[in-house]
Symmetry: C2
Subunit: 344 residues, 2 copies
DNA sequence: CTGAAAGCGCTTACAG
DNA sequence: CTGAAAGCGCTTACAG
């Protein structure tokens, strides 16, 4: 049916080995120009494409990279998936984006399933926090790089890119204080509904600390589970309720830029005017934050740079597995737009 | 290193064949309960995971599906990637989302590369139109399903889901006419910069026809290449220019919902008020269109339903390759929101 | 109920 | 410069 090495070798009246060498460009002084041209033209003519599975089985290299992320329909992760795929492709690798759906069990399942199945390495975009020890065992099965937002302390046993929200969050608190926005309503995300020993998102902890340091008050906080945070209605309802219950609030900090259109709508419904009597700031810059009116102030992580680091670190690790794990720290940056600027 | 069937068969004192049968659940009355339990417990204990490549080579089935799409960072395609991945997964398949970057050559490359390499079938989300004949040859290599937006005429040689924009576009023209928005500025996307025999997007053609049928004027049109259409600045600049040049325009139709925040901003900059002296409508509903103020009227395609069709048709075709190709027509629907409603 | 054997399509020493 | 051969780790008739 489809053509194989053997087919080509027969027609070229040579051995499979020679065909393999030629087609993989591993003929230096090893194959005569004549047979080489012959093989190449026959391969082209027969439309030969090597069977991946056979190559993988023979070499032990898949040239596949698993990319673990929360949800492809979220443009934040979609953008990362795109950046990573392009960079991997340029290096001869294929990326396999796999969704966890913000489910820790599913993440674990993927993490244990992927390495032995069909990838040479794994990049994980941490969207679930707490219980970091779960990552330890992965590196034993395959090179593993994690992007996370904890403070940049080295973790044992695997490489990681730490996105430093400390910087951006302090810039934000400082900026809000300067502009006189001092009563902050927090719309934050957690992993489940709040209870005793609830895993709080690391950047939320940093934010609270920075606010205390700058004398910002927080009369009210709302917590969202990852599940709820997908519902724009939910953000709208809760924002509206918060603004109605606490007239003193003059600033909203939203965990995720995706939600800002609903938050803007709620502010309008509450009779507030963003930039006049209400500031709004958020995380995770995206395509529309500059274009809402007013534009949305954002603590931004440099996604292009991070994607490059993730890929480059992983490929280095694949080529040199016994090197010790590395940590790269990438600073975030506050982008100030109209939503936190006091207009006259 | 990692455990193989042979390792297990040795420890269980049986043959690889028997181990394979048990671990694949193909023991009916063929393996004794005793050896079966023995094998299962040893496999668990040794943490056995089958090598995919070996299975693929032996069976010829990859259980991978290539999903060809424009750009994962675009939430429209990201959402499709997510829906398709979940449904495939539920059926024991893995999806490989692959970006074309809106490049026809790249698409062609993927289309010829994937089948023989590592997939059992292909789902393509057409984002490049014209030159449809290019798809013919794919089906010969692997089952192939296309989602496209042409009129729902059967195409030869492969199955497809035709998203019927005719319906939604007529509803839109009708609605605009009713509301008295009759001077329409068109912000449309094309594949390259306009010239003689330029491939116009099928739904643009339908829209123009529907507008003529309803007596809507179009004093100005702007065309965007797929490349330009990624730039929000571009949409903003061009919208502003259009509104300034043609004061008579009282309605904008935007090719892609992604751009609407920039279009709204431009309208504001031009001193226009959406819902009062300017209507805005668009295609491809997304998470924020309901939440801009006013909400954005949209011609919507039912993505969940389409994703289900795509996956189900493909799996059927894989299981029954000699069945003749099918066509499913899915209607679009107009969702009316404030952006096209005349407010008092 | 179970095992020996061939085969999937490559790659890679190795021998010449 | 080239070929014969082993091997990657499974599955699947087939024979018993």
């Amino acid at each position: 049916m489809t053509t194989t090495l053997k087919d080509i070798s027969k027609r070229a009246e040579t051995s499979e080995a020679t065909v393999s060498l030629v087609l993989n460009g591993r003929h230096f002084n090893r194959v005569s120009l004549e047979t080489r041209h012959k093989i190449e033209s026959i391969a082209r003519e027969m439309g030969y494409v090597p069977r991946r599975a056979a190559q993988i089985l023979a070499t032990g290299k898949t040239h596949n990279i698993g990319v673990i992320l929360n949800d492809l329909s979220n443009p934040f992760f979609g953008h990362y998936a795109s950046l990573i795929q392009q960079r991997l492709w340029a290096n001869g690798y294929t990326s396999l984006p796999m969704e966890t759906g913000a489910c820790k069990d599913r993440e674990r399942q993927l993490l244990s399933w992927l390495p032995q199945k069909s990838v040479d390495g794994i990049i994980a975009l941490e969207s679930l926090w707490g219980d970091n020890d779960g990552y330890h065992y992965v590196e034993k099965a395959a090179p593993f790089i994690l992007r996370h937002q904890d403070t940049g302390q080295p973790r044992e046993g695997y490489s990681h890119v730490s996105v430093d929200y400390q910087i951006g969050v302090v810039q934000l608190a400082n900026h809000l204080k300067e502009q006189g926005w001092d009563q902050v309503g927090l719309l934050i995300q957690t992993q489940q509904l709040p209870h005793d020993n609830l895993p709080v998102h690391p950047r939320t902890l940093m934010l609270e600390q920075a606010m205390r340091d700058h004398g910002l008050q927080s009369p009210e906080q709302w917590w969202y589970s990852a599940e709820e945070s997908k519902s724009m209605e939910h953000w709208y309802d809760q924002t509206l309720a918060m603004l109605k219950a606490h007239r003193s609030i003059n600033c909203l900090i939203v965990h995720n830029a995706i939600a800002t259109p609903a938050v803007f709508a709620a502010a309008q419904a509450a009779g507030r005017q963003v930039g006049h009597d209400l500031a709004i700031a958020t995380f995770d810059n995206n395509a529309f934050t500059p274009w809402l009116r007013p534009g949305v102030t954002v603590v931004h992580e440099p996604m292009d740079q991070i994607a490059e680091h993730l890929v480059d670190m992983l490929l280095k690790r694949i080529n040199n597995p016994q090197a010790s794990p590395k940590l790269i720290n990438v600073p975030t940056q506050l982008i100030v737009r109209g939503s936190t600027l006091r207009s006259a």
